[in-house]
Symmetry: C4
Subunit: 218 residues, 4 copies
């Protein structure tokens, strides 16, 4: 049977497309999860003749939800950044990678739920614990996928073991901060633990500096 | 009329883009449908002075919705995986393929509705039946599209009949499990049938093994 | 200043990317608009001890919303198909094209609103009129963008005037059916007019056949 | 270790993909933010036996929300247009660019919240101030990212300083109009200020003309 005209060159292009689709499908899930977060920032229904003061007060009441939005936007953003960074170092994907990637995406797409819970009940311990575990799960899944890929030789040729380890390490910043601060919950209370999550930023910067120093030199 | 500068090379690139757009538009619909699922996992409104116990109980009440989320994430993920796998074996698309693909996407984008119903009323027979039929419809549409593509010679040159058949078969794992367990509904009840849907995982793995064995050897 | 390594080849690739981004951004908006439609198909809140009969009845009450979903999925799908078809015939884009495209996308992204209105109040004249005008606006905007592109010579070199006209014509199927059936509203009533919109399918097939016959021969 | 077959050519293609993913992830966030806006245009629940008059009145009450939709669709559309335009002039991206881009996306994805507030409480001063600041923040973040890129030499080789400055300038149209009209709020009131935001269109066209004149000639 002859192939009719109008076709895309098979083989090479197909493979490239298959690889790209994994990346772009992941991008889409990350992008939707990150953008859906804003849906939970809502001003409660006010009377039709509400005054500016009432609106101001209602807006003030959304501050915890806005904090939750900013926090989850940051963590999902960091997860996407890790994903992006890793796919620069991956030479090819197989069905197992795609399957593990789906597990990761399922955990990322779950994050809007604990975000909504902590935005509304951030003063209650179960909300904080659920949030920390959900975030950590996504971070750990991403790192495990990377380790699996690397062990099975699917990464780009020149990648050194040090670089591979540091890449794994960077993905751990969110789980480390989230789970590391949980034991302080009974001592410090919910607000202090949630504030301590801002440690994400210095921890991330520290890891970046470490990677740059070690990954480049020897 | 001369074509002004600044253009994209037509023909070849256009064709590649047309092919890619079908894949990426599909990816986007899959990604949105899969990520929207979490919207239905909601903690009901609690009083402003809710205690940790009340929140825990409310979170416990979301377990069926979380199960529905995980289940539908898995099935839509498998449908995407089938789509991804098939587009590696397709050499070109025409308007009929694109039209059939739209029908498939319409059925996939419908899934969040039965998911929401089963998450809330999973103990009632109509919820289970609706869910099983909606899922099966998407799976069958995907397989029929593939069969049509293959029959009209739009697949890549070297594809053997065995491979084409096995590819068709794999897409059937969800419909087979969903429809196959429905007759047990009056005997076993809703919970048992829903639990039996976890058979998806062993069935999928079995099909994968079959495909690998037969697809490679002769 | 020298360009550091690690860069993407500029010029050619940039142009290709700029073109692709317009297509993919459009794809994303179409995909989201089409997938968001399902959000409005909801079973109303039932009591905790609802029976199967109550659920069946509630599901029955969602039939108009499901019809609205299917209808708008079809029209947005056809708009996407037109977009996809046209971009195969476009050689390049400039800022004016991108601006007009944004207007089109704004009208497409608006469609979930009238869809939600007609899904809930399909028996009332204002819902039908709003829906028909919103749909027609998106269809007309797409066709006008195409005509503008073609008049300014941004289409691919070999495109004949007949083909360009037929491409314009095909985009009109939705507006023609929607606006053409509106005058019958006072005579036939809302249900008959909404049912008559199923004419979309034969009209679309007819246009396709016309295009194939005329576009190919002379 | 030998690389198994089935891989994507690393290096070159990887870099291109890394660059593209930043653009497409951004496209997806823009597309979702812009399409989610319609979710807040809702007809309030009407009685089951509502008349056409009641529906018309309810539709009339959505006009402010539709105005808010159109306004935010325009501004996010302009932000996307700026993003698109800038990425045509960027030669490569590094992690800092990607990080700054995430900040921009976080501000863009935030816009649906103030849009929803102004759609419902557009007659109250805090709604107008919040909206103007949120919009301005996104516009300023985009421009700052561009300036940073340009200063660090990541733009395409031939880019003149004039062109770079004008590109920066164009992104400012929304912040200038939004913040520039705020001081008039106590004098003119909310409706007049909101109407004045339609100045966006002439300001944008003016900037476009300036850029075309200066950017091309010397």
């Amino acid at each position: 049977m002859s192939i009719p005209p109008g076709s895309t060159p098979p083989d090479e292009l197909q493979r490239g497309l298959a690889f790209e689709r994994v990346a772009f499908f992941s991008d889409a899930v990350f992008a939707i999860a990150i953008t859906l977060l804003i849906i939970d920032v809502r001003v409660p229904a006010l009377p039709d003749d509400a005054t500016a003061d009432q609106l101001l007060k209602a807006l003030g009441a959304t501050v915890p939800a806005v904090f939750a939005y900013a926090l989850s936007f940051t963590t999902i953003g960091l997860y996407w950044l890790s994903h992006w960074r890793r796919y620069r170092l991956i030479a090819r994907v197989d069905e197992r990678v795609v399957g593990l990637n789906l597990v990761l995406l399922g955990l990322v797409a779950f994050i809007p739920f604990p975000t909504s819970v902590i935005g509304e009940h951030g003063d209650l311990v179960p909300a904080v614990v659920l949030y920390a575990f959900a975030q950590a799960a996504a971070g750990i899944a991403g790192t495990l996928t990377w380790i699996d890929l690397w062990r099975r030789g699917l990464t780009v040729p020149g990648l050194s073991e040090t670089e591979a380890r540091l890449t794994a390490l960077r993905g751990f910043s969110v789980p480390v901060v989230m789970l590391g601060t949980l034991p302080l919950l009974p001592i410090l209370g919910t607000s202090a633990v949630e504030t301590s999550w801002l440690l994400l930023f210095p921890v991330q910067l520290l890891l970046n500096r470490m990677v740059r120093r070690r990954g480049r030199s020897p």
